[in-house]
């Protein structure tokens, strides 16, 4: 049934857990819409015919709706619209809050290609390899203008913004190759900014990653790779450690938990910090990035606003590498283990 509907509606193959949710709601919305529009249309056509004019200056009755009628006009659409919205918002919350155990991949858009970096290496251009049946969180940024990362088969999309990380996650359900398109107009070759997601069974994915770590790039990967985009050190954590040193981060931030000019990096990721203005904030990728670019935006209580901005000094991949380095300095309060679903409960 849903297969047939998908064909009528020209929907591409549904290859992620989110796609299945989307398609169910899509069928519900389209179905109800069609029934209601047809009903209104048929009523109108019936009236046009039944009440056609017989005399040139025919008089008519003065009819006004009762309060009950007007109430129906308002409440029936409202109930339907809010129902769709409710389901849609639940799913939206679900897709924007990744499970804790999801695998991270950094995605960077650039006129006109997509670059993917895995925290444990490797890097690649225009081909993203992911394992099937495992949540993958995409941390998306851009090096120049706006782009938008779109995989029709997964029904996911998220804008890539320069100087900021956005996130979305998916869990691919079927091994195969799926197209990635850019959906935010980004200049001359916008329509050529294509990439693909290769979903591999878990075992093959492990093999692939082992091969990559041995330094043997796949032929296709090799052909598509833009060497200028691949940083010299493949492991982001190591690269981040080097950068934290050369960029001067470690002059103010310790990595062993001792107090210094700035908060220590040890266990910083996922910590809940008390801010100067009394609020609290959970340290995530977005907060770390923001603190590098605009250090005074959310100042941790007890520290001076003395950090310089790194806006324009760090490139997208370098920012990502430092974030990964900070994440690697974990303490036991970062939970690891099997997934328990989304980090936040979806709204029921």
């Amino acid at each position: 049934m849903s297969e047939l509907l998908n064909n009528i509606l020209f929907l591409p193959e549904a290859a992620s857990t989110f796609a299945e949710r989307i398609d169910t709601l899509h069928h519900f919305v389209v179905g109800t819409t069609m029934v209601m529009s047809t009903a209104v249309g048929m009523a109108a056509l019936f009236f046009f015919f039944r009440y056609r004019r017989r005399l040139p200056a025919q008089a008519t009755e003065y009819i006004v709706p009762t309060l009950k009628t007007e109430f129906l006009f308002v409440s029936v659409p409202l109930v339907f619209f809010l129902t769709w919205f409710g389901i849609g918002f639940r799913d939206f919350t679900w897709v924007t809050t990744p499970p804790k155990d999801s695998m991270d991949v950094y995605v960077m858009g650039k006129q006109w290609m997509w670059k993917f970096s895995y925290p444990e290496g490797p890097n690649g251009v225009n081909v993203l390899h992911v394992p099937a049946n495992r949540p993958v969180r995409l941390l998306i940024t851009s090096r120049d203008v706006l782009h938008s990362f779109y995989v029709p088969a997964f029904r996911i999309k998220m804008d890539a913004l320069p100087g900021r990380y956005t996130q979305i996650w998916f869990e691919a359900t079927k091994p195969g190759t799926y197209q990635v398109l850019c959906t935010e107009y980004c200049g001359l070759s916008h329509s050529k900014m294509l990439a693909e997601v290769v979903v591999l069974p878990q075992e093959e994915y492990e093999n692939w990653i082992q091969e990559q770590r041995r330094g043997r790039l796949q032929d296709r990967q090799d052909a598509l790779a833009d060497n200028s985009l691949v940083p010299p050190v493949a492991r982001m954590v190591e690269q981040g450690q080097v950068l934290a040193g050369t960029q001067g981060c470690l002059k103010c931030h310790s990595v062993d938990g001792s107090q210094h000019i700035g908060p220590t990096f040890l266990g910083m990721y996922d910590r809940v910090e008390q801010l100067e203005d009394g609020q609290t904030i959970r340290v995530d990728e977005a907060y770390i990035t923001q603190s590098m670019m605009d250090p005074g935006a959310h100042l941790v209580a007890g520290y001076q606003n003395v950090m310089p901005t790194y806006q324009g000094k760090l490139q997208g991949p370098e920012t990502a590498a430092i974030v990964e380095y900070i994440k690697s300095l974990r303490t036991p309060n970062v939970r690891e283990g099997a997934s328990e679903g989304p980090a936040y409960d979806a709204i029921q």
Partner: protein
């Protein structure tokens, strides 16, 4: 047959023959070029707007066809990528700023509003003429920029791209900024006219629904247009001098641009469709000879759309990186717009109930309009459903949706208004047969153009694509075929209306036997709209009740 006699007070509108020589129609009262270019008559200004608006519609339409031809094949067809990017930018800009926003308010609003209120002119006639020249100045500057160097940002000018592109951003943006002033001036003029120039008897709830719609539209224009004006200046400065407002490399915020842009551009959608709703309320009442079912509900829903329309802009930004909560809030508010529109649709259908339907050309457009509004509105609700928007955002589904509701509905209303008020404006009639044929052709062509685009969006084709993967081709070919049909429809209309303008039969004062207020004056009206003393309007507009059986309706 003197339809006005039962409504206007005795002596309010003397028989036309008596005064004919002293009160020539506005068309012949002064025939020099100067008498047209420097006129302060709202009707002449309306006609001049009609001329320019139609010309820009032609320009935008030609570029639409070029886009469709380019998309016939997956690869390059007739132009290169840069030309294509400039073409869709020009199509969007011309159609939105030079055609759809002024189309109904500046042409039919200008012409009909004072007539419907029993006024001699708008409140500020000279300002009215100024708004025409501001519009033309902005149009010339913007078009000059687009043709000399060209702009490739799309009509949305998203930063940081618009701040970086080497194409001619400044003159085009500045042109659009100037056009905004025309919009504000017209809006203020209509608001003041509605408040102060209603003839005795026209209380707020006896105003024609077209006036309500234009009034609500004017409120949006006055409140929202300054925001985009400032924004366009900021982007121009950013582009020319590296201002850094929106560029993160200089500490700016690219998403801030989107918030400011959609704060205007979302309400702008209602600037385009609200007047259409008003036109349709007049037309459905006239051709089914019925009072509007739920007059107050229709009037209030115009204000409701205008109000809620200001709080729905964030639904353009569900995947822009704004917070999940903001997504939810903007999603709910979007649903309310849908409810207000649904009220109107139900009441229009209710108006036909127990009416006396005469199926003339404008009524054919009403049918098309009903379909486009319902279908376009429903797909809008689908897009407001946040999770579905994640899949559809910036695909052809969105393109098809806004062409249905914004363009489809507006064009239906524009053509309906043109046919409905043609005898009023020129005192001549057109060929009804050709009218119906071309209406059918246009409604068919429009569906054939944009229904495939909904499916393209489902299939995953992003908008603003010069080249596309091969699996999208069949639907693109179907869409282009539909566009061709649509173009034929417009050519036919242009031909028979031009013919009618010159050789058309005299229409008489009120060929539709309408009881809309604007038909109380002559067709075409004399320069000061009404001959003799101030007209009086004791009954509500579109009161078709048999006077012998008429019960005085309760004020509901």
């Amino acid at each position: 047959m003197t339809p006005s006699s039962s409504i206007a007070a005795p002596g309010a509108t003397p028989a036309p023959e008596e005064h004919h020589d002293h009160h020539p129609s506005y068309l012949v009262d002064g025939t020099t070029i100067k008498s047209w270019l420097l006129t302060v008559d709202h009707k002449r200004i309306g006609l001049m707007f009609l001329f320019w608006v139609l010309l820009f519609f032609l320009v935008g339409g030609i570029f639409a066809l070029l886009i469709r031809v380019e998309l016939l094949t997956p690869g390059p067809t007739i132009m290169d990528a840069m030309t294509y990017n400039r073409t869709f930018t020009l199509h969007g800009l011309v159609m939105i700023f030079l055609f759809m926003i002024p189309a109904i308010p500046a042409v039919f609003g200008n012409f009909m509003l004072p007539l419907m209120l029993g006024a001699k002119d708008v409140a500020f006639p000279r300002l009215n003429l100024l708004s025409l020249y501001i519009y033309l100045a902005g149009a010339v500057l913007a078009l000059w920029g687009m043709l000399n160097g060209g702009l490739d940002t799309g009509w949305t000018f998203y930063t940081p791209y618009s701040a970086h592109t080497t194409t001619t951003v400044a003159p085009v943006l500045f042109g659009a900024f100037i056009i905004g002033f025309s919009s504000i001036v017209t809006g203020i003029n209509f608001i003041v006219t509605t408040h102060t120039m209603r003839a005795p008897g026209i209380t707020w709830f006896k105003m024609p629904l077209f006036v309500w719609a234009i009034y609500a539209t004017s409120c949006i224009q006055v409140l929202a247009t300054p925001v985009i004006g400032l924004l366009l200046v900021l982007v121009t400065v950013e582009n020319l001098f590296g201002f850094g407002m929106f560029d993160p490399a200089r500490g700016g915020d690219p998403v801030l641009f989107q918030h400011l842009f959609w704060f205007y551009s979302h309400p702008a959608v209602y600037i385009m469709v609200l007047p259409s709703f008003g036109v349709m309320s007049e037309i459905v009442a006239t051709y089914s000879r019925k009072n509007i079912f739920g007059y107050r509900a229709v009037a209030y829903s115009s204000l409701g759309i205008a109000f809620v329309g200001f709080f729905a802009w964030g639904h353009h930004m569900f995947v822009s990186g704004q917070s999940t909560f903001a997504g939810g809030l903007f999603g709910v508010l979007t649903m309310l717009v849908g409810v207000f529109t649904a009220i109107k649709v139900f009441n229009w259908v209710g108006t036909v109930y127990k009416g006396a339907v005469e199926f003339k050309t404008p009524f054919a457009y009403f049918c098309g309009f009903l379909f486009f509004t319902v279908f376009g509105g429903m797909t809008g609700i689908a897009l407001g459903t946040v999770s579905l928007d994640v899949a559809w955002h910036d695909t052809y589904f969105v393109v098809a949706h806004f062409h249905f509701i914004m363009v489809g509905a507006t064009i239906m209303a524009f053509l309906a208004a043109l046919h409905y008020w043609f005898p009023k404006m020129f005192g001549r009639t057109y060929h009804e047969g050709w009218g119906l044929v071309s209406a059918a052709l246009i409604i068919l062509g429009f569906n054939a153009t944009f229904i495939p685009q909904f499916l393209l969006g489902n299939n995953g084709m992003p908008r603003r694509y010069y080249e596309y993967p091969e699996r999208f081709q069949a639907l693109n070919v179907a869409s282009t075929a539909g566009a061709t049909l649509l173009a034929f429809g417009f050519i036919i209309i242009a031909m028979y209306l031009t013919y009618a303008l010159i050789y058309g039969k005299a229409s008489g004062k009120n060929p539709w036997r309408s009881k809309g207020y604007e038909w109380l004056s002559e067709s075409p009206p004399p320069t000061h709209n009404f001959v003799g003393p101030q007209p009086v309007f004791p009954e509500e507009p579109h009161f078709y009740v048999d006077p012998k059986k008429a019960e005085v309706p309760d004020a509901v």
